[in-house]
């Protein structure tokens, strides 16, 4: 049952989610976006496209991922029953592969021989380089110079997979600048290049397309929880940077108003410190990277740098559909600090023997706050979006 009688039908044909989204790009890119949208619409209507994606998701990425009942965590917190949707067990160690397989197969259909991508923590870069290797495409990954230092292991993984990693030295030298640089590459090489955006961000049709490819998380979780509990969960929790894992979990439940959805942003050193990535909870509406959405910006409309201990959340924008969900009251957005996330990182490792990504640890941290006051009849599903191996170095210097 939805909150309203109508079915949820965003985006509209021009990529708007209410006031958000759209295609705020230079004219050079408009024909490319229109071409991409047509190719995607055509593919989406073709059964063989879905079959090919399903084949790779199952045989190559290891789907479906388990929905694991976290008994020890449930008992430790003493409230709601907690399930973990184990995206950390997917190939490459995070949910990012769901999207890169989808866009990679689309790239193949469109006959482009070169793939580019931006990456922050390196997870999307690794997932893109993986698919480029699988599909035998030339691959260039843009990564902020700061991030190449913080995430050396992932830089090595990408190179091993045959990708060229180009460090970006402009602006804040992080994810947003990597995205600017990838867009510039795409504008220049649009005729033979496919740009795989890693989150539900960017100009239309990316937010919709990435949402569709990530929705496999929520579809599987729905089927699995019905099998395990015979009912839908009470609450879904996921971390939000650009917001792709949260979108993937929430979207199949969007018309289920009885299921509460909570997106957890990174409060960094605290919302008052100015050093955070809590775009929705502490930002304002603006236009960045091709869509209208909540942003971290100053009073002159200049985009501010974001901060989070989790490089994958360190982004001053957020997917436009999340902005719509915020204003429409479909999802509750909250934030947790670096410190709380680090504590949750240790907690899950010790209690469940699962080392989560620092991004994911934000979702765990919020569940530690809400689960104890819920009843044991209630069910929470957390999107365990990625594994924490990549963060061992960062965490060991902070814990």
């Amino acid at each position: 049952m939805g909150k309203t009688d109508r079915k949820y039908s965003y985006p509209d044909v021009e990529g708007h989610f209410g006031d958000f989204g759209g295609r705020y790009v230079s004219e050079t890119l408009m024909p490319a976006l229109i071409e991409l949208q047509r190719a995607y619409d055509e593919a989406a209507a073709d059964e063989t496209f879905h079959e090919e994606i399903d084949y790779y998701l199952k045989q190559y990425a290891g789907r479906p991922t388990p929905l694991y009942y976290a008994r020890a965590m449930t008992e430790n917190l003493g409230g709601a029953k907690i399930y973990l949707k184990r995206e950390d067990l997917a190939h490459t160690g995070a949910h990012k592969i769901n999207n890169t397989i989808g866009q990679g197969v689309l790239c193949g259909r469109m006959g482009k021989d070169r793939i580019i991508a931006e990456t922050g923590a390196g997870q999307h870069g690794v997932a893109t380089a993986t698919v480029a290797a699988l599909l035998n495409k030339e691959c260039v990954i843009y990564m902020g110079e700061e991030d190449t230092k913080r995430q050396e292991l992932n830089v090595f993984r990408m190179k091993l997979l045959g990708a060229e990693v180009r460090p970006v030295v402009s602006g804040t030298k992080t994810l947003k600048d990597a995205m600017n640089e990838a867009m510039r590459d795409w504008v220049t090489n649009v005729r033979n290049t496919f740009y795989i955006i890693g989150s539900v961000a960017g100009p239309h049709p990316y937010p919709m397309m990435v949402r569709d490819f990530q929705s496999v998380i929520g579809h599987e979780a729905m089927e699995q929880i019905l099998a395990a509990e015979g009912k839908l969960p009470d609450t879904l929790v996921a971390c939000v940077g650009g917001g792709s894992n949260a979108m993937g979990l929430f979207f199949p439940f969007i018309e289920e108003s009885g299921v509460r959805k909570i997106g957890v942003e990174a409060a960094g050193h605290g919302l008052d410190s100015g050093l955070h990535s809590a775009t929705i909870t502490a930002g304002s509406v603006g236009v960045l990277h091709g869509s209208k959405t909540y942003l971290l910006q100053d009073e002159d409309g200049q985009v501010k740098g974001a901060h989070s201990v989790a490089a994958g959340l360190d982004y001053p924008g957020v997917g436009p559909e999340h902005s719509y969900f915020q204003d429409a009251g479909e999802v509750d957005y909250v934030s947790v600090t670096d410190e709380e996330a680090l504590s949750a990182f240790s907690f899950l490792s010790e209690v469940e023997g699962i080392i989560p990504a620092l991004e994911t640890a934000h979702a765990i941290a919020h569940v530690r706050k809400i689960a104890p006051s819920m009843s044991s009849e209630q069910v929470i599903v957390i999107c365990l979006s990625g594994r924490g191996d990549k963060d061992i170095h960062t965490a060991s210097s902070l814990l």
């Binding site: 230079s26 004219e27 050079t28 602006g171 603006g286 910006q297 002159d300």
Partner: protein, 266 residues
């Protein structure tokens, strides 16, 4: 009649393509920007395009991106740019086009921006990341204030998009000469003349060509088939290379724009 339209009419009589020169406001400070524009005008530049700096200039190459960073290092805002336009307008009738990315305009407020830009004496607005599909709100206010709405077309633009831009634009149509970001290039390989002709079949507006013009030789070639030659990065590079030597920068800007202006006569 608007200053842009008037200028194109005047130049047609002289058989000259308009020379439109770009400068990022506040690079490296707003006083030098004002002096640069004065020198440009004295050297035969017909219109100026003033860039409003933005933190994430996605469509620009490294030269203009660095100019934006220098301008933002001293916090150049939309208000600062409008004050600059007011000072230019108090002593000159040169057409002024404001160029930028949408977020600073959006943050300032579309209605307030259009009103203040008109009051300051600006003549046209070009927002790089605002194609006709998204331009609705800003365009409405810009049109109401009598300012020209300048849109881009690119080598990748289809006939459908040329038609859409023709329907929405005023002042002139800005053709991006290459698929790529801004930046001076030694050669431009695309068959621009054909693109300009395709646009002219659908629109009566003047057509200007920019992105990559870096020499008088190129300017002359473009002037032979288009109504305006737009030069940006090559000028910004002079400013970048000048460092603290302001008089030297002004001198080099003057001599380069004189050369470009001479090349625009057919």
């Amino acid at each position: 009649m608007g200053r842009i339209k008037e200028k194109f009419r005047e130049l047609r009589e002289k058989n000259k393509a308009a020379l439109i020169c770009y400068v990022t406001a506040g690079d490296p400070d707003i006083d030098l920007t004002e002096q640069i524009i004065g020198h440009m005008e004295a050297s035969g530049v017909d219109m100026v395009e003033i860039g409003i700096p933005f933190s994430d200039p996605m469509a620009d190459g490294p030269v203009i991106q660095a100019a934006s960073e220098r301008a933002l290092a001293n916090s150049t805002s939309v208000s600062d740019v409008l004050s600059l336009v007011r000072r230019i307008r108090s002593r000159s009738d040169i057409p002024v086009i404001l160029f930028g990315y949408y977020n600073p305009f959006f943050s300032y407020g579309a209605e307030r921006f259009a009103r203040d830009a008109r009051e300051a004496g600006a003549d046209g607005v070009l927002v790089v990341d605002l194609p006709p599909e998204e331009a609705g709100e800003l365009s409405t206010h810009v049109e109401r204030e009598g300012l020209d709405r300048i849109f881009l077309l690119a080598p990748t633009s289809t006939e459908e998009r040329i038609e859409m831009v023709s329907q929405n634009a005023s002042g002139f149509i800005y053709v991006v000469s290459v698929t790529g970001v801004t930046g001076a290039r030694p050669d431009m390989d695309y068959d621009l003349e054909d693109l300009v002709e395709r646009i002219k079949r659908r629109s009566e507006l003047p057509v200007g060509v920019g992105f990559g013009v870096s020499s008088a030789r190129q300017a002359a070639a473009i002037a032979s088939f288009s109504d305006a030659v737009i030069v940006g990065s090559a000028l910004v590079r002079i400013i970048e290379g000048g460092g603290e030597e302001r008089q030297e920068v002004l001198g080099r800007i003057s001599s380069f724009t004189e050369e470009l202006s001479a090349a625009c006569y057919r």
